[in-house]
Symmetry: C2
Subunit: 551 residues, 2 copies
């Protein structure tokens, strides 16, 4: 039996029109480094987005699902592109300006971008790539920065402001299928080629509603959100869309991401909310300790991308800035969980423990844990398995290039279509996720899993240990066993047996999980983003480069 409800698609267009019509007074405030920031109302930004859509169609010939890329900081023009491109039926492709040049060129070619909108300050990054870009016909430059390096470009170069000036502020938006592509973003891909996630109008719309639910970020037009998380990183966690849906003001740092200007913009513009990865906040805390400022406006700080150390969370509590963990990834749009403590824990000793988890799943995200043997594990807060998720804003495949079938690698998607997150963790009976390891780093020992992260944290708690990385190495009897790789503090002199006894002490680590292979190294190899590079350690072990003691 069919319902009698209207069949109205969920589109980015609708979010744009609503933001302009109903929340026209709300503002995008972009930091300029000196003097007054740029202030642009949603009504103004919306009108400019319409002009941009007209320019892209009439001047640049953008059609249907042509890809329009952005290589930009967080600013009002980037928000304009966020709405103009999907609303006209084309696909916004946000480029990660932190990637290596070679990777960036690969991504632009793979997505077959026809247009790149670039901030003037990023021309030095873009110019050397241009000879390697096969599909880009137009470059649109916005904001300050020397244009000279673009002089030899074969693509046509446009000035953003000139391009949109005088264009109509109306556009007969096409009726779109809500499952149509709206935006795409490539995962940075620590292994293999980067993989493209293509968000639909539907997924963005639903994710925005979710972000604005009181159990989630729960902001309204009385709030101003400091959007530190880059717009090139999973749609800035969905904030530009969520803000237009509810009239939330945005404070955009543009390229001023250093602790001092961030502290200044918080004090001057008094945002009520902020979103960023922990390293940004660590830097801000150091800055605020050295030069105290009034940051009391910030009552909610969403932290994701990595776990926030408890010490940092407590330090911000003392400043009146309440940190709230969220977990997600490019494939999850990204809001997968938000760590609002449950009602019964508020004001009790349990509350802080809940805040340290990755958070609780909303109705839109189904979750399950898969154990070492492929079995489903219970939500008991103890059984650790790989997290798999399902939902209307979760990826079910990757983009495989123009005209090609979507890519569904077995190690990323289950046979029944769930996303394998590659994260290992536990889920409490009330739906709170705690991540304990990455699936590729967990040690699979005799059908059980040992968390490399748990061993590392326990080792690093020893006063003589500077750093410790634990990796899985092959073992004839158990399949895999942990190898402990230890960096001692300068002048420290401690034996492996002492360290093993330390791990076993006070029930920190179960006996069967204790490593029997140990090695001292001068430093742990790191990836470009500063994480332990366990691939390198495993290779060194395999090639006999490490001096391993077994006992």
């Amino acid at each position: 039996m069919l319902s009698t409800m209207q069949d109205v698609p969920l589109t980015v267009t609708r979010i744009l029109v609503h933001g302009v019509q109903v929340h026209g007074r709300s503002q995008i405030i972009t930091w300029t480094g000196e003097g007054e920031p740029q202030r642009r109302s949603f009504a103004e930004a919306g009108a400019r987005a319409v002009q941009l859509a007209n320019a892209l169609r009439d001047e640049l010939g953008v059609r249907d699902d042509d890809r329009v890329a952005t290589l930009m900081w967080n600013n009002a023009e980037h928000v304009e592109a966020y709405f103009a491109v999907p609303a006209m039926g084309a696909v916004l492709h946000t480029l990660n300006l932190r990637l290596a040049a070679e990777q960036l060129a690969w991504i632009v070619n793979h997505a077959a971008d026809r247009v790149i909108i670039v901030n003037g300050s990023l021309i030095p990054l873009l110019a050397p790539l241009l000879p390697h870009l096969r599909t880009v016909e137009h470059l649109v430059v916005s904001g300050p920065g020397d244009r000279a390096p673009l002089a030899g470009a074969t693509a046509r170069v446009h000035e953003y402001e000139d391009l949109i000036a005088g264009r109509p502020t109306t556009y007969d938006w096409p009726e779109l299928d809500e499952r149509q592509a709206a935006a795409m973003c490539y995962t940075s891909g620590t292994t293999g080629d980067p993989k493209g996630v293509v968000y639909s109008h539907r997924s963005i719309y639903l994710h925005s509603m979710q972000a604005n639910m009181a159990q989630s970020m729960g902001l309204t037009d009385r709030d101003t959100s400091l959007v530190v998380v880059p717009q090139f990183h999973v749609n800035a966690w969905g904030l530009p869309h969520a803000t237009f849906m509810s009239g939330i003001n945005m404070l955009m740092p543009d390229r001023f991401l250093q602790p001092a200007p961030l502290a200044e913009m918080i004090e001057r513009e008094r945002p009520t909310h902020a979103a960023a990865v922990p390293t940004i906040w660590q830097g801000l805390l150091t800055e605020l300790t050295a030069r105290p400022r009034d940051v009391s406006s910030l009552v909610q700080v969403t932290i994701g991308g990595a776990a926030c150390p408890p010490s940092l969370m407590r330090a911000f509590d003392e400043l009146g800035m309440r940190v709230c963990h969220a977990w997600g990834m490019t494939e999850t749009s990204p809001l997968g969980t938000v760590a609002r403590p449950p009602a019964h824990a508020v004001g009790t000793d349990e509350e802080f423990g809940y805040r340290l988890t990755q958070g609780r799943f909303p109705a839109g995200v189904e979750a399950r844990l898969t154990g070492p043997g492929g079995e489903r594990l219970p939500w008991d807060g103890e059984s650790a398995g790989e997290l798999e998720v399902r939902g209307p804003w979760i990826a079910g495949a990757y983009y495989n290039g123009p005209g090609a079938e979507p890519l569904r690698p077995d190690d990323k998607f289950s046979a029944d279509g769930w996303l394998k997150t590659g994260d290992v963790g536990t889920i409490s009976p009330d739906g709170f996720l705690t991540l304990t390891d990455r699936a590729k780093d967990v040690i699979k020992s005799g059908g059980e899993w040992i968390s490399s992260v748990d061993l590392e944290n326990a080792l690093m708690a020893h006063p003589d240990v500077a750093e410790a990385a634990v990796v899985a190495v092959p073992d004839d009897r158990w399949g895999e066993r942990p190898l402990a790789t230890v960096v001692l503090k300068e002048g420290a002199d401690v034996g492996f047996e002492t360290l093993r006894d330390f791990l076993a002490g006070e029930g920190k680590i179960a006996k069967w999980q204790l490593p029997e292979r140990w090695t001292i190294v001068e430093s742990v190899p790191k990836t470009s983003v500063g994480k332990f590079d366990k691939k390198v350690l495993r290779r060194r072990y395999a090639e006999g480069e490490l001096d391993v003691t077994k006992f």
Copy 2:
């Protein structure tokens, strides 16, 4: 270009599973009139809903989109039916226990209900209907009340608790299309036959997300909602679904809707939110004035169904209970607007004015005003037109009986599929709706509209006027003109010219809108729900029954 996102349907099933899994501790508290209320956790209610689904399928033979009706108060068992029936793929049909017996029988036959779940206390209402019900095969009785009147029923009679006892607490829920019917509700229909609105899984899911957005009701698991608005009235404004989505506790009054027990349950259970029509709150205010109680827990009171008089709003403000207007109808699921003042008005003189509007449209509800000549009117806060709305939880047709095409009357739906609400009002530039009249009552005078309600309110402000109703009557020159029908207070003696001058005074009413036809009546005829029955007045005028003075 297709997105790479998973295609996961938005279903009531998902809300149920989530509520049980993640918010299992949250409670449905049902008032029992004496002693402790019944307390049932979402986990318990969810398990019982699963048992009910098993019973409906295995014992009663409910299949596919069979209609399962409820004739029940607000209580935990009614919530169980809310989830069990749609999740199994059948259609929940909530019956309005305030309707006349004849209308109720008509509705049950039109929907072809196979099962009715009835509260024991409502058997006296149901029993006399039974001989007229053509499709009902099973009656399931829940809660206290004499079963004797059902003795002669041809339908099989079951006890709810016996029926579900011992059934499995798992069910292999079917994969449903999100556009499939989940629930239906008939409009009370002041003219013509009642009309059935059929909600889809999608519309209920999206409406629940909307209700939980911070800009809307914005509740979390720290809240308890006193759900006074009946579950048979537009899904209790979506609260049972919204609460399971976010773990919000429900306080259910069952049949105890009188001011004294409501005041007692507020004081004892300390809900933070309540939802009801103004008349309930008027009664509560009288009760609280006579017998003060601690109602300070109620920080948000959603009022809909009719405008809340400003005096009532102020009185509740003084008690610390903040009233928030919402507007909607059976056809809008019902949340169409919510009157949260915009950020710039908070704490200013404008704030109270915004709170008196019907509220602001969310992103999910598109709105437009259509003038007397079919033209689109601007959102200028002044141009009054008929409100038309569009959105994924707005009806686009009515149910026309088993196997028949949906019904789309021209006076209810525009050619392009928008719902004509039948309400006349203005929309401010920032999207706040103010209703001024019903479309059928507005006076269409020379291509302009005159609000009957404005004239009535202005007349009733005169100290000698007890009641006043204004209706449109035919006029050779202007098409229609207003007829003022006045009830004078006892002993009052005032001429029509004095009243007309009073209307014209201080710019209250524009000169061209002043009535030239006046009549005195002993009382204004009323409908069954206490509203002015303007149909009767128009008929009396047409038949020359009124003594009209024209000047």
